[in-house]
Amino acid sequence: MKEIFVLAEHRQGQIRDITFEMLAKGKQLAEKTKSEVVAVLLGKEVQAHAKALSQYAKKVLLIDDSRLENFNSKAYQEVLSSLIKEYKPLLIMIGHTSYGVDLAPSLAAALNQPIATDCIDLDLEDEKLSVTRQMYGGKVNVKATVRKSESYIVTIRQAAFAAEKPAMNGETVQKPSPLTQDITEKRFIKYILPPPGGVDITAADILLGIGRGVKDQANMPIVEDLAKTLGGVLACSRPIVDKGWLPNDRQVGTSGKTVKPKLYIALGISGAFQHLIGMKNSDLIIAVNKDPNAPIFNFSDYGVVEDLFKIVPSLKNKILELKGQKT
């Protein structure tokens, strides 16, 4: 029976959510293609992870090697290449995460097997793979077909699929590590933790999220004023941190925090997936953007198509008025 491989992603003792999301989709595709879903787990002393994964897969392939203690794309690539050559799985699913993007494309090139990255959906029909991906920052989707192959590699966007409850009782098969020597060309040194202190945006009830539309650092006091008037806290999308206008503990999204405030006002944020994933579960979302086609409007409760600078000062004054503090 053919296999669908799902690479288990884990870090600092935790299996990451993307793993269970991929296992759910992998199981569905396995049923359709009469194959079986296999969790591939690489690590050092990760028996507990193997046990957890066995509840979500028909089989857990485990490689235990001290050289796999921390993620190293080169070590992972060597081990996966060897497993893929042995098992010839129909599909290899890898998370479109920081680890996955470091690993999957070069693995595909090394094996000369086609890859489709950052997939939000995929389908296998007669052993032919088609995928759905986003382009232009989420403004459009594309359906693409992948060149026919006996084995495909895909990277899967985080939160594209919902994880399922544990329902299986798979066997764990431990394989000898194919690594014969130390990986010297690329070495993991250490984790660098975000600096402590600062503002905890995950604890705020009201967040004012700002993005590229703020345009200039000189405009920061205008949005800061509104945040203060609302009794809220400023948060932001990636470009604001890149420019150094806010520290990175204010960033919402994949590389920042996931927030769920009572109110999230998005100002000049187009709504790339990387940001949306961090805020789309807020209780109430109001978005202000000049571009009526901005993806943020597809995830908001209320939208205003307008220049944020025409809205922000007026909104501040209206709120002050209501509070009886008209200035």
């Binding site: 870090r11 080169k74 920081s98 680890y99 993007v101 470091d102 494309p105 070069s106 595909a108 090139a109 086609p114 890859i115 489709a116 990255t117 950052d118 995928v131 382009m135 232009y136 920052g137 459009v140 989707n141 594309v142 359906k143 693409a144 992948v146 060149r147 060309e185 690329k186 070495r187 993991f188 040194i189 660098i192 975000p194 590229r212 470009p239 890149d242 420019k243 990175n248 920042g256 109110l263 187009s270 979302i285 978005a287 000049k290 571009d291 993806p295 409007f297 597809n298 995830f299 908001s300 409760d301 209320y302 939208g303 205003v304 198509v305 307008e306 809205i311 909104l315 004054n317 209501l322």
Partner: protein, 262 residues
């Protein structure tokens, strides 16, 4: 140190009004403003900073049509010493894999210790060219790079992980580093600099010059074929609050009050 930086000329779509063209497979490009891919802009800046700090050369290279010259001139104005444009009618339809093969063929004969690219491109977002290029060259790579420290024969880099975490990784040189935005603050280029760059030579190479065959590039040399482009389905369509700014803010204030938020 000789640094090669791979750049892409892409349409700016973040705030633009976009339309899918009549083929249904790509965007209507008329009216869109093209510029250097944002991630590549940071890669370019990093390359120039390395040159300023330890000497060497910077070569900017792109796969694209003649229009991409404006992006290469920007690279030259910013401090690149050489610019190469890889152009051939046969390249049209290339996916990230085919583009990496084209770059590989052009780069393999050049002297370099470091290749920088953006971690992804703003248009198709494959996050592939850097690592695939590294694999084809048989050298190590790191993606999502937020900091680069160079020493003799090696590079120590910080990679961005999720949730504010980073990892420190050491790579043997030569290597390919795909950089994340925010790694530096790209400088502005003076008008004088751009004017000066207008006179510099851009080397143009085609399929035959880099020793590839037709089958390696374009649609035949690609893994992915776009069949259909469409507007994403709506998860939760916003209710639009319309009116003058004054009317809009009154409505928002009412809404917030009714929800007990102010």
């Amino acid at each position: 140190m000789d640094v090669i930086v791979c750049v892409k000329h892409v349409p700016e779509t973040a705030e633009a009004d976009i339309k899918i063209d009549s083929t249904g497979q790509t965007l209507e490009k008329t009216g869109l403003v093209f510029d250097i891919n944002e991630w590549d802009d940071y890669a370019l800046e990093e390359a120039v900073r390395i040159k300023e700090k330890i000497g060497g050369t910077v070569t900017a290279i792109t796969v694209g049509s003649e229009d991409a010259d404006s992006t290469l001139r920007k690279c030259l104005a910013r401090g690149a010493d050489k610019a190469i444009r890889l152009t051939d009618a046969k390249f049209i339809g290339s996916d990230a894999y085919a583009v990496a093969k084209i770059l590989h063929s052009a780069i393999k004969g050049l002297p370099f210790s470091l290749i920088l690219t953006g971690a992804l491109s703003d248009d198709d977002g494959y996050t592939m060219v850097g690592p695939v290029l590294a694999q084809l060259l048989g050298i190590p790579h790191a993606t999502m790079v937020k900091k680069i420290d160079l020493s003799e024969g090696s590079a120590s880099v910080n990679r961005e992980l999720e949730g504010g975490l980073e990892e420190r990784v050491e790579l043997r040189l030569p290597a390919v580093l795909a950089v994340q935005t925010g790694i530096n603050e790209p400088r502005y280029v003076s008008i004088l600099g751009i004017r000066k760059a207008m006179k510099e030579e851009i080397k143009v190479l085609g399929l035959a010059d880099i020793g590839l065959s037709e089958n390696d590039v374009g649609e035949t040399g690609s893994w992915l074929k776009i069949e259909k482009m469409f507007v994403p389905p709506v998860e939760k369509q916003a209710e639009f609050i319309k009116g003058t700014p004054d009317e809009v803010t009154s409505k928002i204030t009412e809404l917030l009050k009714s929800r007990g938020l102010i």
